[in-house]
Symmetry: C2
Subunit: 255 residues, 2 copies
Amino acid sequence: MADKPLILITNDDSISAKGIASLVNAMSKLGEILVVAPDKPQSGMGHAITIHSPLRLMKSNQFQNIQSYTCSGTPVDCVKLAIYEILKRRPDLLVSGINHGSNASTNVLYSGTMSAAIEGAIEGIPSIGFSLLDHDADADFDAASEYAHTIAKGVLANKLQSGVCLNVNIPKGKKSELKGMKICRQGRAFWEDSFDKRKDPSGGDYYWLTGKFEATDKGEDTDMWALEHKFVSVVPTQFDMTAHHLISQLNEWNF
Amino acid sequence: MADKPLILITNDDSISAKGIASLVNAMSKLGEILVVAPDKPQSGMGHAITIHSPLRLMKSNQFQNIQSYTCSGTPVDCVKLAIYEILKRRPDLLVSGINHGSNASTNVLYSGTMSAAIEGAIEGIPSIGFSLLDHDADADFDAASEYAHTIAKGVLANKLQSGVCLNVNIPKGKKSELKGMKICRQGRAFWEDSFDKRKDPSGGDYYWLTGKFEATDKGEDTDMWALEHKFVSVVPTQFDMTAHHLISQLNEWNF
């Protein structure tokens, strides 16, 4: 057992989501598994951590013969609790997802799924976030799950460079409809937001965040292009956010 | 009035924090100001957005003669509400802070202050996050506030490249004790977390996240080095998280 890779699994759609069940299934042949996942949906939580309130951690029976816990906090809290409170040794791999919905392009920043993988990378653990381009709670995860298995196996065999994780997005559809994998860069896009303003029963205003995703990048090397053309997109993602190319330019500014 | 730059101000310590009052004061000579800030502390919220519950937006009287609102959500929610719900024209500058505590190095990822600035950059607005290395609610913001004024003036005059914002951290101390500004890269570090496990009155376990910040990077071009040597650190920060240097390497992997 000690020779089997130790795989930490989390997500942001909560331990009850179909996506994490598919991921547990895909990983079960690759190693020993620990699941630590949020006890409720935590989509859009980005890299949030819980510091103003305490956290709860509960043993779960969600998966047969697999050690699992729920956490009251964010996906990043789950990773921290798993590494520093539950596990006795470092995981060989961290996988997050499979998310119900895309985390391609700029969505990587808002995504709890990807933030969990980025936290893994900060901790020096080879990490991958998986997302399926289908928000449906009952989405078909068959193809996504096959790709997750293949890519996780590849990362275990090849080792990822320290400081980097993978952002993997899988188009909707049967395996036979997909064209394979493509290593990409993060496409440029933004949310053209709009707020759905409503009145509560007492006449007070409240707002629901909605929006339209606007791609501003037509590059054929982007994840957006790959997904539109039915490729699985794989973006090497780093947590060094320095715009290195601007350091010399800023040194010439007159402040 | 129409010629004056429009400056959007937010933070993550809430509208009542001393740091945002210092920032409002520092910006008041530079343009017309709108403040949209959280109604309660939102530290460590990273790039979280509120999608599972609605948002409240309230007019505030926090600052004399300055239009201000509180929002029930995260710092990124504040930016989105300001741009898409309140303002009639695009801001010329977004400033966030002044944060009570460091957002240097890897902290940029957890920081609500910096996520607000990064959201500004995604929206194409020149944006800066300011943080003072002092967690005290009554910290001395005099030097930080002077630097905020100087740097904001510089950004308004020079224009920042699209896709990039500035992460500015200011050491604790009087202006005369500081050695000036240094353009830096984000230093590598991680939180060696630990959880303070306690029993609630019913005997249930709960956990407080604590930790020790561990620098793994001794580079003299990092923000950590600059701050330790009493320089104000300025890191050009981008939201493209692609590890571009790894794209060709991953193309050679056998999946």
